[in-house]
């Protein structure tokens, strides 16, 4: 079996990233937005792994980084969801556009 070239993987990751961004910018539901951010983070993970595997296989910086990203993403998500829950308590909705009292 022959290897998948780096470029294609990078393409996938970039694609993923922009999907994530698209989701973030268009979706109204906070949870969905959070998920799209996760997508972006994952695309970054793919980057790291790919770089590490293809370009610099001799040390594991990339992999470590990925691990840490995953952990922190989890933490972030946890806090974010907590906040969203609280937001739901106060606003009775998790639609992002309902939360725009503060402007200008």
């Amino acid at each position: 079996m022959q290897e998948i070239p780096l470029s294609q993987i990078l393409f996938v990751s970039t694609f993923l990233f922009f999907i994530g961004m698209y989701g973030l910018l268009t979706r109204r539901n906070l949870i969905t937005m959070l998920m799209s951010i996760e997508l972006m983070l994952n695309s970054v993970n793919i980057n790291f792994v790919a770089f590490n595997k293809y370009l610099f296989p001799d040390n594991l910086d990339g992999l470590f980084f990925t691990l840490f990203i995953i952990t922190i993403a989890a933490a972030e998500a946890a806090v974010a969801i907590a906040i969203i829950i609280n937001l739901y308590r106060s606003h009775n909705s998790i639609d992002v556009d309902d939360a725009n009292e503060m402007k200008y």
Partner: protein
């Protein structure tokens, strides 16, 4: 280093027992004081985790600044915390994020830096939501967490590209591999945007105002002073140490950001009525000046940055101190509420006024020196167009600072804020700030020390 451990210690001590808020608060403040003291005395240069965590005189000094700020903030928020149920949690969050900042400042590679960044951000998002019942508070937290997550995603993308092009995440090695090819530049821009988001430089600043307005005053001041300061320190470290090969590029980036930041910050600040929001935009404008200073990319550049941060801590916290007391005890947060403030609360008014003058950069307050030195550092590059632009923007900033002074002293108001009984600790904090504001400038020894320890390009 020592400081961080200390923090953890007193965190765990508090977790178990439950005391009356006052005692806890006093205890914490004392602990923070000790912490600050140790910080001032521990001055060793060292490297841990093979270069992931390093420290030296400069970094220690920066940490001391942050400790000082943390102490002042906690003293000021006394009035607010006294009758809140979650004191310990609050401190847990705040101090964790402080610790995160320490990691970030003394980080030796991108991974450590990223950890520190997140460690400092996420708790703050939670803390922003601390007024659990307030709608604004939760909205602010939501905005903060979402946009910071987004920004860190961008940042990570940048880092990943950087890694991809250089093959390392260690600063010391990184420098050698930077050759300014397009992908690297792009990565760098992503990285800078991540920073710009944290220090809320235009156009990455939009979350600032809302979050500042929504979150509790203590958190706001923490955000506006400490987290900003920490990120700026790191930024300078990275720019001056790591990205030296593309200095010409990042100089231009900084110029663009600075100009935009000053202008937009000022233009928005003119209109604000909510005091926290007003301070948010004013602090944005301040960041613009700081960026000018950094762009000087010289020893005096970084020195003036740190110097300004010190002054900024004093002056901004003095302002926030007054605001927090007023909002906690009189539940007023609008500038228009401050009309005729002088009649009822002369002392607070003077504190606020001096703070604002210092922010505006009026002698003999320290702000004058701070701003002037930033500008001087920037002028070293000979880019007088930018300097003139900034100087004229200072006039705009004068307008809105003086507007507040005008409200306090000159405007008539049938129902001014009633006399406020300021708790002793907060009072002490304010006095510390005021003294700082006045002394830091005139006593040149401060600046000279900072200069001696700070780094050039």
């Amino acid at each position: 280093m020592a400081l961080s451990i200390l923090i953890f210690l007193l965190l765990f001590i508090k977790l178990g027992k439950d005391r009356s808020n006052e005692s806890i608060l006093n205890f914490i403040n004392i602990a923070l004081l000790i912490n600050l003291g140790t910080g001032l005395y521990s001055n060793e240069t060292g490297i841990l985790f093979n270069g992931m965590f390093n420290t030296n005189a400069l970094i220690v000094f920066e940490k001391d600044l942050l400790n000082l700020a943390a102490l002042i903030i906690s003293m000021q928020s006394y009035a607010w915390l006294r009758n809140s149920k979650h004191v310990i949690e609050f401190y847990l969050l705040i101090l964790t994020s402080l610790l995160g900042m320490f990691f970030m400042i003394s980080s030796g590679n991108l991974l450590m830096f990223y950890l520190g960044l997140e460690m400092s951000t996420i708790p703050l998002a939670a803390a922003a939501n601390f007024d659990l019942t307030k709608r604004k508070s939760s909205e602010a937290a939501m905005k903060l967490i979402l946009s910071s997550a987004f920004s860190s995603a961008i940042l990570l993308l940048g880092i990943s590209f950087l890694y991809g092009t250089t093959g390392t995440i260690t600063f010391s090695i990184l420098t050698a591999h930077i050759n300014g090819n397009p992908l690297q530049l792009f990565a760098f821009i992503l990285l800078i945007s991540g920073f710009a988001f944290k220090i809320s430089a235009v156009p990455f600043h939009l979350w600032t105002a809302d979050v500042y307005e929504g979150s509790p005053v203590a958190v706001t001041s923490f955000l506006s002073v400490i987290s900003k300061a920490a990120v700026l320190f790191t930024l300078v470290n990275i720019l001056y140490k790591v990205f030296t090969p593309i200095a010409s590029t990042w100089y231009l980036v900084l110029v663009v950001l600075a100009a935009a930041t000053i202008l937009i910050g000022n233009l928005f600040a003119i209109r604000q009525d909510n005091f926290k929001r007003f301070l948010a935009f004013s602090s944005i404008a301040q960041v613009g000046f700081i960026l000018i200073g950094i762009s000087g990319s010289s020893q005096s550049g970084s020195a003036s940055l740190i110097y300004f941060i010190l002054i900024y801590i004093f002056s901004n916290l003095a302002a926030f101190g007054v605001v927090s007391v007023v909002s906690a005890l009189a539940d007023k947060e609008n500038i228009s509420d401050f009309k005729g403030f002088y009649k009822t609360n002369p002392i607070l008014s003077w504190v606020l006024t001096i703070a604002l003058f210092s922010l505006a950069g009026v002698p003999p307050t320290a702000g004058f020196f701070g701003k002037l030195f930033l500008m001087m550092a920037g002028a070293a590059k000979g880019n007088y167009g930018l300097i003139t632009f900034a100087a004229l923007n200072m006039v705009i900033s004068f307008y809105y600072y003086l507007r507040v002074v005008k409200a306090i002293f000159m405007d008539e108001n049938p129902t001014p804020i009633q006399k406020i009984q300021v708790p002793t600790i907060s009072k002490i904090a304010m006095y510390i700030c005021v003294v700082g504001v006045i002394v830091t400038g005139l006593a040149s020894v401060v600046y000279n020390y900072i200069y001696s320890i700070s780094i050039g390009l």
